[in-house]
């Protein structure tokens, strides 16, 4: 049975997720890659324009006509951001990371979407709510996405540290 989640999520809800569960996420998610993590950790908390409670490891392909629209926006390799994860959870209270490929960190719940499935992911993006730090370039900027039933995602690491990537 697939689980439907809506952001922001309570700690209670997050703790209930078990490695191997299939979930669909609705609500706001925020993208971050190398450059965004670096800047977020450099700046003061008050200078950060978004909540990093749910981080999506993704560099979306977007196009602006009148408004920004997501064309293709699957996940990117989370392992590149491994070293930022403990710092992000500490500074921003990050509860959930959505990405692909696996991480070792156990500071937060890790959901995976199938890599390469950018068209499928974009179908779930109802609106690009905002973009910040576009000076970092399209992939590295922070995109605030409103998603509806984004998934199926797999809970790859749960709050107890159970991981599907451990073998």
């Amino acid at each position: 049975m697939a689980i439907k989640l809506k952001t922001p999520m309570s700690d209670e809800q997050v703790k209930k997720l078990k490695a191997g569960d299939v979930v669909y996420v609705s609500g706001e998610i925020v993208t971050a890659r190398d450059r965004a993590h670096q800047r977020a950790l450099e700046l003061r908390r008050s200078e950060i324009p978004v909540s990093f409670e749910v981080i999506y490891h993704s560099g979306p392909l977007v196009k602006k006509n009148r408004e920004w629209r997501a064309i293709s926006c699957g996940p990117t390799t989370s392992a590149r951001f491994e070293k930022y994860i403990p710092k992000m959870t500490k500074k921003f209270g990050t509860k959930i990371i959505i990405g692909k490929g696996g991480i070792e960190a156990k500071n937060c719940v890790y959901l995976c979407f199938t890599g390469g499935c950018g068209a499928l992911a974009a179908r779930a993006v109802k609106r690009v709510k905002a973009v910040h730090w576009l000076d970092l370039g399209m992939p590295e900027a922070v995109w605030v996405l409103e998603v509806e039933n984004f998934g199926p995602l797999v809970v790859a690491i749960d709050a107890r540290g159970n991981s599907l990537f451990k073998r």
Binding site: K63, S72, G74, G102, T114, G116, G118, A119, P139
Partner: protein
């Protein structure tokens, strides 16, 4: 010709080669784990959706790489110009993600052009028409590639061990099931070139050389017994195919390069007539 390049780029991103789709469908039938099947189902659905909408199946529209097989009287300068302008225009029109940055300042050029990029490999042919092959290479899989100068004494076993080690340490990162291109022999740079060119051979084909074809089969079997599976969640299919190209090498060396390609193995060809 520029419009033809834009269309070539659009087609490569929206439609996977048929042999790759066939191999993914076979993998879906082969897997019995729930999560492995879910990954493959997403891939197959994504392929269908991208084709239907004519949009890039993956947001990582890659680093632009071209192979040009020049016809006898082809105008090389004109082709080069069309490719460069085509990439620039495709970035807006397809659209492509702006992927190309300076390696040190990390500043994004905004049009997928940069020093030495697009990478154009020039080849010569005797045909009357020029063929252009476009291979956008995503970073997730490219980052899992590796080169090693083996000692000749390490031989075949050393080669196999290095390929397996590379695939194993990549785990779920390169978006498995992958296609593994291997270059054996030549010089340090030739082995890398061969590893990438190995990816251009259809994945339902084997090397014409018996011993290399055998190695392709053996390696695929051993890779798939690692159990990494689709997206690293475990399963029978870690790679769809191992393709190997080789060249002669110095008596004192044995270069081996492994170029990993994601399941979204996008490439397409176009024929350019006249000049």
């Amino acid at each position: 010709m520029k419009e033809q390049i834009v269309e070539l780029i659009r087609r490569a991103h929206a439609q996977l080669p048929r042999d790759v789709v066939t191999a993914l469908r076979a993998a879906y039938r082969r897997e019995d784990g729930e999560i492995a099947r879910l990954q493959l189902r997403n891939m197959l659905e994504n392929i269908k959706l991208a084709k239907k909408l004519g949009i890039p199946m993956c947001q990582d529209t890659g680093l632009p790489i071209f192979y040009v097989y020049l016809a006898k009287n082809a105008d090389r300068k004109a082709i080069e110009k069309a490719i460069i302008q085509g990439v620039k225009e495709a970035t807006q029109k397809v659209p492509l993600r702006q992927n190309v940055v300076n390696p040190l300042t990390r500043k994004n050029s905004g049009n997928n052009l940069g020093e030495g990029i697009p990478l154009i490999n020039w080849k010569f042919s005797n045909r009357s028409a020029t063929e252009i092959l476009y291979l956008p290479k995503g970073a997730g899989s490219e980052n899992c590639s590796a080169a090693k100068m083996l000692k000749p004494s390490e031989g075949l076993e050393g080669i196999k061990e290095f390929v397996l080690e590379t695939v194993k340490s990549a785990g779920g990162k390169p978006c498995p099931p992958t296609i593994v291109g291997v270059g054996i022999g030549g010089s340090f740079d030739l082995a890398a070139k061969l590893a990438k060119e190995a990816l251009l051979r259809p994945i339902n084909s084997y090397s014409k050389r018996g011993d290399i074809a055998r190695l392709e089969k053996e390696l695929l079997k051993e890779i798939n017994s690692l159990g990494i599976g689709p997206m690293g969640f475990g399963g029978r299919t870690t790679s769809l195919k191992v393709n190997i190209e080789y060249a002669a090498c110095h008596t004192a060396s044995l270069p081996v390069v492994v170029n990993v390609q994601c399941w979204a193995h996008r490439y397409a060809r176009a024929i350019v007539h006249g000049n």
